[in-house]
C-alpha cells in the first residue's frame, strides 16, 4: 500500500484500486460499466444476445456427458493426459492470441469463487449480468465455435450432444436470467433434427445456433427438414461467426488482428449470400434469422453488393421477388463488435438495415473485444426509443422474452463491493 498521510477528519477519502487481471472479481473488472449503468441506463430493459459460457473451463463436465462409450473414453483419456481443456477439440492452442499476449486478463479468466455455492460459471455470469445491468444473457460456446471445421463429423456430434446436455442440465437450470441457443452439429443434419425435436420444450433454450466457421452450403436440400422444424418451433436460427487458422482463405494473414477483422465477417457474408441468392427467405419465410458477432460494417456493403449483382444477373437468383437488401432488412443482427470510428458511416449503416427494429445488443463478454451497453446508449444519432429497442425490446420480440425487470439496481451492485474496485 502507498504511504498515505495520516487521515484527518477533514482530509480527502483515498483508497487504492487494485490492478485488474485474470483472477479479478468480475464485479471489479466491470465496476466502470456499473457506474455507466447507474448514470445512463439503469431503468432500461437489457438483453445481451451474445455472451460466452466458457465451456472449455469446465471441459471435463462436458466430456463426461458424451453418450458414446468410445468417444467418452478417448476424450477423458486426452483430458487427463495431454490435451486438458482442448481434448477432442480442433482449436490450435499455439494460435490462440485473443488476450493480446496476456494484456487483456478477462479473456480466459479464472476468478476465485470462495464461499459461493452453485456452479462457478453461473456465479461469474450472474456477477457479470448484474455489473453490466443486464436483465437476460444468452450464452454461446467458445472453443466449440470452431467445431464446424473438425475433420471428424462424429466428434462434432458427440460433443454437440454433450454440450447441450451440460448447458441445459447444469448451467441454464441454475439461473433463469441465463438463456441458451442449442448447438446444432450442422455437418450431420439428421442429428440437428433430432436435437431440435428433443429440446423443443426446454425453457432455457430460446433458439438454435450454427457455428458459422464451416464450409456447409446453407441452402443445401439436406437441411430442408431441419428448417421446417425450426420454422415450426418459432424460435430463431442464429449463425455465430468465428475464425479458423486452417482455412486457406486466410493463409496469408500473419496477425490475429487481421484474422479477426476479416474472418468474423467472411463466414457470415458467405452464409447470408447463399441464404438469399437461393431464395431461402421465400422458401422458409417464418424462420427468424439472427447473424451473430460479425459487427455491422459488412451489412450495408453486402446489401449494396448483392443488389447490384442481382439486378444484372436475375436469372441466377430466380427465386427472388425482391432485392437482397429487402430480405436483409428483415433479418436480425447482433451489435458486437460494433465498429464506430466513423459515426457517419455507422449511422448510415444502421439506417440501411433498420437497426431500430433489427439490431440486438450483444456484449460478447467475457471475450477480449466485448462491448458494454454504453456503446449503444452513447450513440449520438439514436433516439431514446431506438436505444431501448436495440438494448432489449427487439430481443424480447425475437426471443419471446418477458420484459419485467430482472436485474438489481446498479447502486446496490456497487454497494456490494465497497473499497475494492
Amino acid at each position: 500500500m502507498p504511504d498515505f498521510p495520516t487521515p484527518r477528519s477533514d482530509g480527502p477519502r483515498i483508497r487504492e484500486l487494485a490492478e485488474i487481471g485474470g483472477r479479478s472479481d468480475t464485479r471489479d473488472v466491470l465496476a466502470h460499466a456499473t457506474k455507466q449503468a447507474q448514470r445512463e441506463y439503469d431503468d432500461y430493459f437489457i438483453v445481451d444476445i451474445d455472451a460466452h459460457v466458457s465451456e472449455d473451463h469446465f471441459w471435463g463436465e462436458v466430456l463426461e456427458r458424451i453418450d458414446n462409450d468410445v468417444w467418452r473414453h478417448i476424450g477423458m483419456d486426452q483430458f487427463g493426459k495431454f490435451a486438458g481443456n482442448n481434448a477432442l477439440l480442433n482449436i490450435q492452442p499455439g494460435m490462440s492470441h485473443q488476450s493480446v499476449g496476456g494484456r487483456i486478463g478477462h479473456q480466459g479468466r479464472k476468478e476465485p469463487m470462495d464461499g459461493e455455492s452453485g456452479h462457478p460459471f453461473v456465479t461469474a455470469a450472474r456477477r457479470g449480468m448484474d455489473a453490466m445491468g443486464l436483465d437476460y444473457q444468452v450464452v454461446f460456446p467458445s472453443a466449440m465455435l470452431l467445431l464446424g471445421m473438425h475433420p471428424q463429423d462424429e466428434v462434432e456430434v458427440v460433443l454437440g450432444r454433450a454440450f447441450n446436455r451440460w448447458l441445459t442440465e447444469v448451467v441454464l437450470r441454475q439461473d433463469d436470467r441465463l438463456k441458451g441457443m442449442l448447438y446444432l452439429p450442422y455437418n450431420t443434419p439428421e442429428v440437428c433434427e433430432e436435437l431440435v425435436e428433443k429440446y423443443a420444450d426446454d425453457e432455457g433454450i430460446i433458439g438454435y445456433t450454427v457455428c458459422s466457421t464451416r464450409n456447409n452450403p446453407v441452402h443445401s436440400d439436406v437441411y430442408t427438414r431441419l428448417y421446417k422444424l425450426i420454422e415450426a418451433s418459432g424460435k430463431p436460427l442464429a449463425f455465430h461467426s468465428g475464425y479458423h487458422w486452417g482455412d486457406p482463405s486466410f493463409a496469408q494473414l500473419n496477425r490475429f488482428l487481421s484474422m479477426h477483422a476479416l474472418s468474423f465477417t467472411h463466414y457470415n457474408q458467405i452464409h447470408v449470400t447463399n441464404w438469399i441468392i437461393n431464395a431461402m427467405p421465400e422458401r422458409f419465410p417464418d424462420i427468424k434469422m439472427v447473424w451473430v458477432e460479425s459487427g455491422l460494417a459488412w451489412i450495408p456493403f453486402l446489401m449494396q453488393r448483392l443488389d447490384h449483382e442481382v439486378l444484372m444477373r436475375p436469372s441466377e437468383a430466380p427465386g427472388l421477388t425482391r432485392l437482397p437488401s429487402e430480405y436483409m432488412k428483415e433479418m436480425w443482427y447482433t451489435s458486437q463488435p460494433m465498429e464506430r470510428t466513423s459515426m457517419e458511416l455507422l449511422e448510415a449503416g444502421m439506417k440501411a438495415f433498420n437497426a431500430e427494429t433489427q439490431l440486438l445488443y450483444s456484449s460478447d463478454w467475457p471475450h477480449w473485444d466485448w462491448d458494454a451497453p454504453s456503446t449503444i446508449t452513447r450513440l449520438p444519432f439514436l433516439s431514446e426509443q431506438a436505444k431501448r429497442n436495440i438494448l432489449g425490446l427487439n430481443a424480447a420480440r425475437v426471443f419471446n422474452l418477458p420484459t419485467d425487470r430482472r436485474k438489481p439496481a446498479a447502486t446496490s451492485v456497487l454497494q456490494q463491493r465497497p473499497g475494492i474496485s
Binding site: 502507498p2 498515505f4 484500486l17 487494485a18 494484456r103 486478463g105 477480449w368
Partner: protein, 125 residues
C-alpha cells in the same frame, strides 16, 4: 462542497519509484500516478474508448517494428525505453509519458496536474 481546485498527496515518491504506478480514488475521482524515466504523470482512470479502468491494467513496453538495413522486417520487438499503459477492458495502449495511443495521436488519456515535493506526490484535482 467546494468547487475549487485542491492539492492532495496521493503517494510517497519512494513507494511510487518502487511500484512504478499507484491507482487511487480520491473522493470519488479515480486516477493513476506513474513514475517513468524520472518523470511523474497522472492520468484519469477512464479509457477514451469505452470508459474502462485504463490505469488498472498492465504496464508493457511499447511493441515496435524494427527494420534491417535492407528494409526487411526484423520482427516485432519491445522498445528499450518506452512504456505503455494497457487498458484491461480492450487492450487500448497509451504512452505513460504522453498519454497518446501509439497508432492515433488524436486518442489519449486525460491528464491530471501532478508534482513532487520532497517525498510527496501531489495531484491537483
Amino acid at each position: 462542497m467546494s468547487t475549487g481546485h485542491r492539492d492532495v498527496v496521493v503517494a510517497g515518491l519512494a513507494d511510487l519509484r518502487e511500484r512504478e504506478r499507484v491507482v487511487v480514488e480520491v473522493d470519488g475521482l479515480e486516477l493513476g500516478v506513474y513514475l517513468h524515466a524520472g518523470e511523474v504523470r497522472a492520468w484519469h482512470n477512464v479509457c477514451p474508448h469505452q470508459g474502462g479502468p485504463v490505469c488498472q491494467g498492465k504496464i508493457m513496453p511499447r511493441t515496435i517494428q524494427p527494420l534491417r538495413d535492407d528494409r526487411k522486417s526484423a520482427g516485432p520487438a519491445f522498445h528499450p525505453a518506452d512504456r505503455n499503459i494497457v487498458c484491461p477492458w480492450h487492450g487500448f495502449e497509451f504512452d505513460i509519458l504522453t498519454g497518446r495511443h501509439p497508432a492515433h495521436s488524436g486518442v489519449g488519456l486525460r491528464p491530471i496536474p501532478v508534482r513532487v515535493e520532497g517525498d510527496e506526490v501531489i495531484v491537483t484535482i
